[in-house]
């Protein structure tokens, strides 16, 4: 286990470094940002001078070496637009909004899907299956940005029950969480349902019935743990994606998350913030992946981490 973790951590570091390197060169390839800062009628010389002062006229490799050395010291630089705060801090202060939204939506989506899939199999009901799969698919076929706008229309504008935007308290979570959770619901229902169906014809299930276990108990305690495995990979990827910032949902609800800060930084060519933001996104993926692998080995003794 320890060996596994060490190996994965080394891999993770390499992945993150790759991401940062690509981000660095892609950003620089899009041009020097001095001109974007001087919006009203600066001369070419003034633009060039600002680029010089900010260090964007130096050879690319020299800039990269400085950047890479900084990364190894844990210094990701600061925004050239606001040097008073380190870039990583600007991103980190968005994490509570992003993480709380991602985790709440994820947990609610998964729990609802679990409840739905279990009820389908406990009651052996085709009608329930049709309801959840069809209903969920219908929801999924509406893009999140449109669903979010509709939800705001109904609950904020017409009913006046919930805030339409912002990050002000528990009530402001409802609409964005609803948007994300219901959007992912059917994905988990489908995976769980087909996994449970597959399990139901396995020998160990017949044995369980033979031991006199009730149908509900067989589904919940025998089939479900086995059915969870295939869902975990997909759920992990989804969770990591959400933790990296649900850009569209954040924009619809003016949610101050990581995705929002990243998009703004890209459009302003604020390289330090883009790099810090991508670092966080990459870390999220890497960490969630490791957690999923460890969970696999816990849930399924056949999986050995080596």
């Amino acid at each position: 286990m320890l060996k596994f973790l060490i190996r994965r951590l080394v891999q993770a570091a390499a992945t993150v470094l790759c991401v940062l390197t690509i981000a660095f060169f892609l950003g620089r390839a899009s041009g020097k940002p001095g001109a974007l800062l001087l919006t009203d009628g600066a001369t070419a010389e003034q633009i060039d001078q600002l680029n010089e002062t900010l260090g964007f006229n130096r050879p690319l490799l020299a800039q990269y070496v400085d950047f890479a050395l900084g990364v190894f010291r844990g210094d990701f630089g600061s925004s050239y637009r606001n040097p008073s705060i380190p870039a990583i801090e600007l991103v980190a202060e968005r994490l509570p909004a992003t993480v709380s939204l991602a985790l709440t939506s994820f947990v609610i989506g998964v729990v609802l899907a679990l409840a739905a899939a279990l009820s389908i199999h406990v009651f052996r009901s085709r009608k329930l299956r049709a309801l959840f799969i069809w209903g969920g698919s219908l929801r999924q076929s509406v893009p999140d940005f449109f669903f979010g706008v509709l939800a705001v229309l109904v609950f904020s504008v017409v009913l006046g029950a919930l805030p339409s935007l912002g990050f002000t308290g528990p009530a402001s979570y409802v609409l964005p969480v609803m948007t994300i959770a219901t959007g992912q619901f059917v994905l988990y229902v489908r995976l769980l349902d087909s996994a449970l169906t597959e399990q139901s014809s396995q020998d160990y299930v017949r044995t369980a019935y033979a031991r006199g276990k009730s149908h509900g108990a067989v589904v919940a305690t025998e089939m479900l743990p086995n059915a969870l495995l295939p869902v975990m990979t997909m759920a992990g990827l989804n969770l990591a994606g959400l933790l990296g910032g649900a850009v569209i949902v954040e924009q619809v609800f003016a949610w101050p998350g990581v995705g929002e800060v990243l998009i703004n930084a890209v459009s302003q060519r604020d390289f330090a913030i883009v790099q810090a933001g991508l670092l966080v996104v990459a870390l999220m993926f890497v960490v969630v992946n490791i957690v999923v692998d460890v969970l696999y080995s816990v849930l399924d003794p056949r999986v050995r981490l080596s």
Binding site: T39, L150, M178
Partner: protein, 502 residues
């Protein structure tokens, strides 16, 4: 729209009901009479008035700081921290008499040395994006009798507009705080800094000791809301009291009882710029044909919902340099075709670059309409859409290869910067016409009452040579709470002092 998606809505209500059952509903942001929440489409990265010059930040600057002059909501230049001013004959020396008894938010009195300090710090700071705006200052000194004197490197008729955009900071506080000044800023303006919750909002509270017009409200909060839909529904649901909306959202709100629409003329000018040295465009007849082929009225009616005025000059009404009754270019497709055939144009493709995201409202739709008109005249257009930052970088770096669609909104409310940038030596000037350069200098040295005549010659030369093709001036439209008593400013920058409730 609501009716068409009843099925989805029913499902939504079902799921929503399940979720909301366990959460307390709050009525957030219902407008109390002493405070207002206003949506800004973008958050400024920095709000340091020395270091950062940006349209987003001016919303804060005009609330928290004063310049020597002020630009009012209707675009007029009026006394600010200076009560009076005079200049020498060739407009290169300006003396401002400083208003006595003005206090900074920390209680200290404003001194002429604070003004000298503010300008000297900008001039001495290589990273300040205000620096190019005051680069013409040779020296700034505090004189006897509360006078501050600027000596400029060249005559500059627009200096009064320029000083309005520079907020004055207290020397002792700024020297002590430096980069951290943004976190506890101090100015002389009608509002004091209250809090900046990054990514969310910027709050201001009334400065009870303000020397000028007192704010109507105790508190004004700028809320950062990037998505247009979110601004509309934010106002309708009462979370916001006002927010800018694009023209295509105006009809949607026409019948709303929860929001009103306020539209008013802007200081913006939408135009087709071009590299007039590029293949195809180097022939003046082709350039003129482009202007003749475009039906401005139809674009305004069809795409802008009538919320724009056709224009034949590069600045809007209200901006210094706007010439009353200057003719709007005509549409004449036959003449356009004739000019094209005279020029020997045979369908070589010309690129038209425009912003798909981050640009001015409707820019992508307008670019497509322009492409339609031009192809009707026989011009082959290759549309190239990018995000605004990429387009801005290309414009600023002199890298345009054909046509481009853009809008200029001079926050100083003076045409000087527009002419310089696009026609006279700036990064978007491809023609490098010596006659234009001469007119530009003439305009800079012209006394106030003669500038209009020179601008007229500039717009005429631009029309005859078609170096750029002015299209129209759009209105700014806002969704606002029905009980909000507020008139938008011509420059699109909020004046927090003027926000009140009926």
């Amino acid at each position: 729209m609501k009716l068409r998606y009843t099925g989805t809505l029913a499902l939504l209500a079902l799921v929503g009901g399940l979720l909301t059952g366990c959460m307390p509903a709050t009525t957030s942001g219902s407008a109390k009479d002493s405070q207002a929440t206003i949506a800004l489409p973008a958050e400024p990265s920095n709000t340091d008035p020395i270091m950062t010059r940006s349209i987003a930040a001016w919303n804060m600057y005009y609330a928290m700081y004063d310049g020597l002059t002020r630009i009012t909501a209707d675009g007029k230049v009026v006394p600010g921290l200076a009560t009076d001013w005079k200049h020498n004959a060739d407009l290169s020396e300006w003396e401002f008499t400083i208003r006595p008894g003005v206090k900074f938010h920390n209680g200290e009195e404003l001194k002429p040395s604070d003004i000298v300090y503010t300008y000297s710090t900008i001039l001495g700071s290589e990273k300040s994006t205000n620096r190019p705006a005051v680069a013409m200052v040779k020296s700034v000194t505090a004189e006897a009798d509360n006078v501050v004197k600027f000596t400029l490197k060249n005559p500059f008729s627009a200096w009064l507009n320029q000083v309005a955009t520079i907020g004055i900071v207290p020397q002792d506080v700024y020297t002590k705080e430096g980069d951290n000044f943004v976190n506890a800023p101090v100015g002389t303006g009608p509002f004091k800094f209250s809090a900046w919750q990054r990514g969310v909002s910027y709050s201001l509270e009334r400065n009870g000791d303000y020397w000028g017009d007192k704010p109507a409200l105790d508190k004004v909060t700028f809320s950062f809301v990037g998505a247009e839909d979110a601004r509309v529904s934010g106002v309708e649901s009462g979370t916001l009291n006002a927010g800018a909306i694009p023209p295509n959202q105006v009809p949607v709100l026409k019948n709303s009882t929860q929001a009103t629409v306020i539209s008013s003329p802007s200081n913006g000018s939408v135009f087709l710029g071009m590299n007039s040295k590029a293949a195809g465009l180097e022939d003046v007849r082709v350039r003129q044909a482009i202007s003749l082929a475009i039906d401005r009225d139809e674009i305004i009616k069809g795409l802008m919902g009538g919320l724009a005025t056709p224009n034949g000059q590069l600045v809007a009404k209200g901006v210094t340099g706007f010439v009353e009754n200057f003719p709007v270019p005509t549409t004449d497709i036959e003449r356009a075709k004739k000019l094209l055939s005279e020029a020997g144009y045979t369908g070589e493709p010309i690129t038209l670059e425009y912003a798909t995201v981050g640009g001015f409202p409707m820019s992508a739709e307008i670019a497509q309409a322009v492409e339609g008109y031009l192809s009707k005249a026989g011009i082959t257009i290759k549309l190239v859409g990018t995000e605004q930052a990429s387009l801005s970088l290309k414009m600023a770096n002199h890298k345009i290869t054909g046509l481009y669609l853009n809008m200029w909104t001079p926050s100083s409310m003076d045409g000087d910067v527009v002419v310089n940038q696009i026609l006279a030596g700036g990064p978007e000037d491809y023609a490098k016409d010596p006659a234009m350069a001469k007119l530009y200098l003439e305009q800079q040295a012209a006394p106030e009452n003669q500038r209009s005549d020179v601008f007229k010659k500039i717009w005429e030369l631009n029309r005859d040579q078609a170096y750029t093709v002015p299209l129209f001036t759009p209105s700014n439209s806002y969704a606002a709470s029905p009980n909000l008593a507020w008139t938008p400013s011509v420059d699109g920058i909020y004046r927090a002092t003027g926000v009140a409730f009926k």
